[in-house]
Subunit: 408 residues, 2 copies
Amino acid sequence: MQIDPSPLAEPFPQMPDISGVTVRTARAGYRDWERADLTLVELAEGTSVAGVFTQSACPSSEVEIGRAQLSRGTARALIVNAGNSNAFTGYRGREAVEQIMDQVAEALKCKRDEVFVSSTGVIGVPLPKDKARAGVAAVISAPSVSWEEAANTIATTDTFAKGATASAMVGDTRIEVSAIVKGSGMIAPDMATMLGYLFTDAAVEPAFLQSVLSAANARSFSCITVDSDTSTSDTVLAFATGKAGNAPLSSFDDPGADAFAAAINDVCLQLAKLVVKDGEGAQKFIEVAVTGAQSDESARRIGLSIANSPLVKTAIAGEDANWGRVVMAVGKAGEPADRDRLSIGFGGIWAARDGQPVPDYDEAPVARHLSGKEVTIEVDLGIGSGRAKVWTCDLTHGYISINADYRS
Amino acid sequence: MQIDPSPLAEPFPQMPDISGVTVRTARAGYRDWERADLTLVELAEGTSVAGVFTQSACPSSEVEIGRAQLSRGTARALIVNAGNSNAFTGYRGREAVEQIMDQVAEALKCKRDEVFVSSTGVIGVPLPKDKARAGVAAVISAPSVSWEEAANTIATTDTFAKGATASAMVGDTRIEVSAIVKGSGMIAPDMATMLGYLFTDAAVEPAFLQSVLSAANARSFSCITVDSDTSTSDTVLAFATGKAGNAPLSSFDDPGADAFAAAINDVCLQLAKLVVKDGEGAQKFIEVAVTGAQSDESARRIGLSIANSPLVKTAIAGEDANWGRVVMAVGKAGEPADRDRLSIGFGGIWAARDGQPVPDYDEAPVARHLSGKEVTIEVDLGIGSGRAKVWTCDLTHGYISINADYRS
């Protein structure tokens, strides 16, 4: 099935090379695609790594192994297989991952535990070892490629390549972050994007990198949803080569640590929004801004209840300022709420305040807002100071067409 | 928008009159429908009542008031308004309900707290008091109508009238249960159907009626879902007139109590399945049978995670035996699971066992099963003896068409 690019697609940004990072691609032939499907990222010695993974109780071998590898704190290579997720494939799936780790470690002369592997695509088919072996052999000697080429190679059902970049001053040193992500459906917290990779030349201790990434994830990938479904393979990894030469960051007390964290936050938020903009069938990008909740976490949960509601998402698809469905979604969230203090708006205009429709409510400017590609829903609970923003897309015929026909 | 009857529609059953119950309908004109929209059910003196309501934190005034009324344990009348849910209408909505209660209580010479009121339809528009007053005046002197007429009158977006009946021997006395329900979307636990009413001529103490209804609800209305969305008005009420003349039931130690409870269970399950069969856009009825879970409740939650997954529901719509999506839905349920013990089947045929695809899996009979109107998904967790069944429908273009255009 040919799928048009999302109407919300963004052009791929200009992204700097990261010192200590080399990206290569090859064709392993996991599927009958006429394109590269295997990505190798070589990382300089001493590269720190941090990661967050799906909370699925049935994760892939890649996720299980990757989670264990993180304790080492260093990485030398990343392999991404596209077209086969290798999930739910038992010991044969695990063997394929270990074969790849061994093969790459031997070629790069590093430890096997420093080779991270991700796979994305069909569930339930063991990654074919022969194709993986030939693909890895080819990619190791392949020429280096651009970030955009890499973003295209890790993609599966994505309709456009997704990347983001940011920089920061750490002391007197300018550090860069370049990152790519893939994912367009099966996107939901608590680990939202399918596969995302951040690369920076900053010198960062692994434990601090982990705390920065975890915090950034909580306000980005954990705040987006396409269809409430969660992949068995969701993974975000951050790699810091240290080639920029700054004094290594180990805590927020270090000069420049805040700027570094801000750059990571920025990149994660950009990537997360790009994933939503490639949501299957998405025609509109929706921001749900929740204020006045009992706590920030309560606000996030209420926002996700709204963002996951099929009735809210179809209303936005229909450009209908149906605040009654938003009330419904607040009510079912299982979070503290008081019907008679609840206010709901669209595009900055309140439709209902304190539990009742606004008497002189004028739907015309709201209708204009809803006819655009970017829609905001404002919800004020009126009971506290908790706040959160959550992002999603509308639910359209396109989603049904893609998912009732595509064999994942 | 004209909507065709669901392809899963069932004919309205032959349902006996219930002694002590009289049903009347009238047209209040809440919407511009050319049909009756107000239902009055008169109940004999001494009628016991029990109820379960939406768990929404933003319920309608009808739900708030009804919940409080239950403590009395007796009922003399039920009023159902169709076309306006009166939800999210503040004090004006509450005043409208109280006006109806007063008017009916005066006409029937009963206590105001014995008049139960439900409303269903658009959110956010206060129930118009003048229309309600004239409608109630008309319905009190209206002729009695059939169960099917009543089922049609309480309906809104339903595409067919829904009723169920059962009988039981309580001692030497045959008791009857007749019940109607409305609901076709915004259907999800923990209170699934929008409005359901059970009527029996059995003599039952209110507290026991409540425990029987709550237990039946837990295995029926709380085990169905159409779109994971929960109404602000969901209500199920059971009324027992006592006119059958049996010795009043007050506990499961009483003769016939088990048979009575079985009849209530049976009716609740029939009604719940009918609601799913009228799910918005439904083309297929799906039963998810979960076994081997850590507990029955864990099995129910896993079942609902599968039944609420847009990716599973679109796969069934596409007649695709996509067990990978079922794995995903099990994984995201947040319940104990072991990937390597998980088995998944369709129509009684295992596609994956113990965490791996079945080697000689023949998809042909599964494809035949999925081409039918009633589909089963079997999931065995392999870690305990907990089990549950959950019912839902597929997710189709019809759902999008209905909800992106219909102003609820």
